[in-house]
Symmetry: C2
Subunit: 140 residues, 2 copies
DNA sequence: TTGGAATATTAGCCAGGCTAAGTTAGTCTG
DNA sequence: CAGACTAACTTAGCCTGGCTAATATTCCAA
């Protein structure tokens, strides 16, 4: 009813605050942290190089190095090399990493589904309609 | 068109990932961190006690103690006492803290407004309609 | 009046950011 | 083709922001 950008921005801020707190509660104490989960997700389609991962996660390269170190120690990913360029290190899922990714994703979707089941059909439709709009934000 | 909870959950996950990354980019390098901003926001209506703040931010008490220490050192909040109970410490905004809060909030809303202006009127309406639904999530 | 509960703080740990500096490998130029 | 620059990554050292466990203090109730 009131698509004035400034007023809407205030409302979005409020809801965002709610969602951020919700996420924090949801994420605490999982078998992988949400950052690790995100990185594992990036590897699902195959090996990636460090720079790609860092860029995709909006993080500096050294930060990603540390993340991958931890995932490697945990046996969830393995480093490799690029035969065409000896400078680049590749990273890929181990089978254990793939299993873990699947399990965590399943748990997340289950939890979210439960939340969404508590909504009415109409509310879900409203939410579904808004998703493409949310996906557009920040692409500017 | 497809408000099946499980399928919707998958889509929500994807969008959530996008929004989290967007937030991270947006928040980096601000004059106060987003946590500090959140705490300052909690103090806007007046003094609060430590336990209240910790609960509201879904954080353990020691974590809040450290946060408040930093904000106090920065001169943005001041600790006080409750005359009725000597165990409790209260926290309130200094005038500098209030100014800072206002400025950061203004900057955030401006940035968000700019994002939202790039959408069509219809997209904004769709988004506005979904906000109450998003606000309901996690209240289960 | 004493013992347990409530409120905070301190100390010490870990994850996850950052920059600066170092290493190794590719590339380009004179 | 040698030397310099660039690119890809890692290491080191710092900060924020979580956590638990241990400590003061203060309150309250038996």
């Amino acid at each position: 009813m009131s698509p004035d950008p400034t007023e809407l921005a205030g409302q979005v801020s409020t809801v965002l605050r709610h969602l951020v707190l919700l996420l924090r509660r949801t994420v605490a104490g999982q078998p992988v942290t949400s950052q690790q989960y995100g990185v594992l997700g990036s590897l699902e389609q195959g090996a990636r190089r460090m720079t790609e991962l860092a860029e995709e996660h909006a993080v500096q390269l050294p930060t990603m190095t540390v993340q991958i170190n931890r995932l490697e120690e945990a046996g969830l990913v393995a480093r490799g090399t690029d035969p065409a360029d000896a400078r680049v290190r590749t990273v890929e899922l181990t089978s254990e990493g793939r299993d873990r990714l699947r399990a965590v994703r399943q748990a997340r979707i289950t939890r979210l589904s439960r939340e969404l089941s508590a909504l009415t059909e109409e509310e879900r439709a409203t939410l579904a309609a808004a998703l493409p709009v949310l996906a557009k934000l920040g692409r500017t």
